[in-house]
């Protein structure tokens, strides 16, 4: 019996291991040159100019790129006032983000992508970071930012710190609902952006319940959800990015943020172009 089973086990083990070994032997590029068959073709937002080393193929299924609720305020601002004032409010745990790093984060990619999409419209993207912020501190910071200046569209990125520190789910839901209500009270469209997908640490800090609460809360509050977590998971599953490498190539940060910025712009454009806003 064992003799009969052994070759089968060996064949199975080989079938499993070979791609891993092959991957390890290759130069392990941070970004695959193409998304491979079956991936979705880019939508309406134009691809960035091809000056990069090997431009990542920023794709994601349509379901991640179409807001469930139209971005009415933003559409009105673009159509009537020829302007789009965007606030990207991030809650980041990293103690300090240098200017050099900032130019590689997704808000930096969002600005040209939106400007390219809306020629003749005055697009401004304010980028504010609340450091070491769980949702409570983040909400306080967001309030301050909303009080300081008016915006048409607010992207509230949060969740990482809460997952890592295990914020109570009830508190998380309560603050998230309040934040969305306050953005709306300031006459802006709210978009919630979920945390990054991190295959190496997901095991130790489970983000799934927080993502689920975000889905439920945006549904009940009528906000948009740019689900960065699911999109990055899709990239990993589809082989577009390998995010589980412990020491990847230097370009991984830039490439991932570039794609997040690109897809976020496409998400916003789809929300503005929704039939309900016409």
């Amino acid at each position: 019996m064992i003799r009969r089973v052994r070759p089968l086990l060996f064949a199975l083990a080989t079938a499993c291991l070979m791609p891993g070994i092959a991957g390890a032997q290759s130069a392990s590029p941070a970004v695959s040159p193409s998304a491979g068959p079956g991936s979705t073709a880019p939508g309406a937002v134009p691809a960035p100019p091809v000056q990069r080393r090997s431009a990542p193929d920023c794709t994601a299924p349509d379901r991640y790129l179409n807001p469930k609720n139209p971005l009415r305020r933003s559409a009105e601002a673009v159509r009537n006032s020829k302007r789009l004032r965007v606030l990207v409010f991030s809650s980041v745990r990293t103690p300090a983000i240098s200017d050099a790093v900032e130019t590689k984060r997704y808000p930096a990619a969002l600005t040209p992508a939106l400007k390219g999409r809306y020629p003749g419209v005055d697009v401004t993207v304010a980028n504010q970071i609340e450091q070491r912020a769980g949702i409570s501190e983040s909400l306080k910071g967001l309030r301050g930012a909303l009080a300081a200046k008016p915006y048409d569209l607010v992207i509230w990125q949060l969740g990482s710190t809460d997952v890592l520190s295990g914020t109570d789910m009830n508190l998380f839901e309560d603050k998230l609902s309040r934040g969305i209500a306050e953005i709306r009270a300031r006459q802006a469209d709210p978009i919630i952006m979920s945390m990054q997908y991190s295959p190496r640490t997901d095991f130790m800090f489970d983000p799934a319940p927080y993502v689920q609460y975000m889905r439920w809360t945006v549904k009940t509050e009528g906000a948009g959800l740019f689900n960065r977590y699911d999109i990055m998971r899709y990239w990993v599953e589809d082989g577009i990015f390998d995010l589980s490498e412990l020491q990847p190539g230097a370009s991984i940060f830039e490439d991932v943020h570039h794609c997040v910025g690109e897809l976020l712009a496409r998400y916003i454009a789809n929300g503005i172009a929704a039939p309900e806003t016409q």
Partner: protein
């Protein structure tokens, strides 16, 4: 005399004098309900599969088909079996002996939790040392909590810091620590005890009571003040409550209603992941039912579990021949050694995660890692049974003065 000797642990034969202890007559133990072991084994398999993030087989686990998941099954059956085992001890040997045994069990659970915490630290230390991915600067920063071992270790010992995947153990420890009181209540006034448990659940839900965790703003993932209801309900069923429920279990109308609820819940849960069903839950309904809290055992989760249990109890008789077949044996074995198998499952899920991340993330590897983990769990459970049998056989030797 034999009874008295047994009461003293079987080692009193050497002195020749026999002290008669007041012992209540032994009642013949009821035949073991293998359904309990079977479904607890199933819950342990599902918990293992759910604990390997990104595992394709996760898609087939219970949580994708309804509001409740394997945790509810595990807690309910744990309450049920705890009452069966310690309820008998309490009737035969009194409150103090039964309480002492329950607390000994709670201590074993605590030791198991600390063991898993050490495994968790090893995993974190491994990743923290090697992770140099600039994309995850935030996560790397958090992994540095190892720089404060004094705080982390003390918080873990106090059950305030709970690594992912082990959350259910601290809940189980607290439930067992409080179980002597519950058991005492159940043996005297079972219905009143259940009502008090439901009252505590209601108060915890209304007032937002939960145990504080660490770091700040961290509460227990399984709120013991809410989840105790399921545990006590399981114990109440075992202490004779199930007989009161018999008419409901047999009622066709109740089963139809339960099936309808399970179907509705299936569609709601599918609407979270299947794009075509996304608009299925109207906003007005969503406002009422969301969020469906796992931490506080939302009523919908509790109701879903009850419906599931009702359907299973209706269609799966206690003497179902399949439960005695070889096919059911692996699950029953795992269910009979739940604590060890749970711990092994968490341990194996660490290994599975490393295999998927380091070696290959192909679909076939997902399947192999899952199957291999389950085989390991079954093998370990079989080994535990072998030890147990061995110990039983050694019993008479020890009584006769053997080693």
């Amino acid at each position: 005399m034999a009874e008295a000797r047994r009461a003293r642990g079987g080692d009193g034969g050497r002195t020749g004098t026999v002290v008669r202890l007041p012992i209540r007559p032994r009642t013949a133990p009821a035949p073991r309900d293998l359904r309990l072991d079977f479904f607890r084994g199933l819950a342990l398999w599902l918990i293992y599969l759910d604990h390997v993030p990104g595992n394709v087989l996760n898609l087939a686990t219970l949580r994708n088909f309804g509001f409740s998941d394997a945790a509810e099954i595990f807690v309910f059956i744990s309450g049920y079996t705890a009452a069966l085992v310690y309820g008998r001890v309490m009737r035969e040997r009194g409150v103090i002996i039964a309480s002492a045994r329950v607390l000994k069990r709670a201590w074993t659970l605590y030791v198991a939790f600390i063991f898993l915490f050490v495994v968790y630290l090893a995993q974190i230390a491994y990743v923290a040392q090697r992770l140099k991915n600039p994309l995850y600067a935030e996560e790397m920063n958090v992994l540095r909590f190892l720089d404060e071992p004094d705080v982390t270790l003390i918080q873990a010992l106090l059950l305030r810091f709970k690594p992912a995947n082990t959350d259910i153990l601290p809940l189980y420890i607290v439930l067992m620590a409080a179980f002597p009181l519950v058991l005492w209540g159940l043996t005297r006034r079972p219905n009143l005890t259940l009502v008090l448990s439901a009252a505590l659940y209601t108060m915890a839900r209304l007032m937002g009571w939960n145990f504080a965790g660490w770091p700040a703003e961290h509460m227990w993932v399984f709120n013991p003040l809410a989840w105790q209801l399921l545990f006590v309900f399981g114990a109440w069923c075992a202490m004779g409550g199930l007989e009161h429920l018999e008419p409901i279990v047999r009622s066709r109308a109740a089963v139809v209603a339960a099936c309808a609820f399970l179907t509705a819940s299936l569609f709601v849960v599918l609407s979270w992941s299947v794009p075509a069903l996304e608009g299925l839950v109207p906003d007005s309904v969503a406002e009422i039912i969301y969020p469906i809290s796992k931490t506080d055992l939302a009523l919908l989760r509790f109701a879903h579990f009850l419906a599931l249990a009702l359907v299973v109890a209706h269609f799966v008789p206690m003497d179902w021949s399949f439960l005695r077949s070889k096919l059911a044996k692996p699950l029953i074995l795992c269910g009979q050694h739940s604590l060890e198998i749970f711990c092994l499952g968490v341990f194996l899920s660490f290994g599975a995660q490393i295999v998927l991340a380091e070696i290959s993330g192909r679909l076939l590897t997902h399947v192999l890692v899952s199957v291999a983990g389950i085989i390991a769990m079954v093998a370990f459970a079989a080994l535990m049974s072998w030890y147990q049998e061995n110990e039983k056989r050694r019993g008479p030797d020890r009584a006769a003065g053997g080693t």
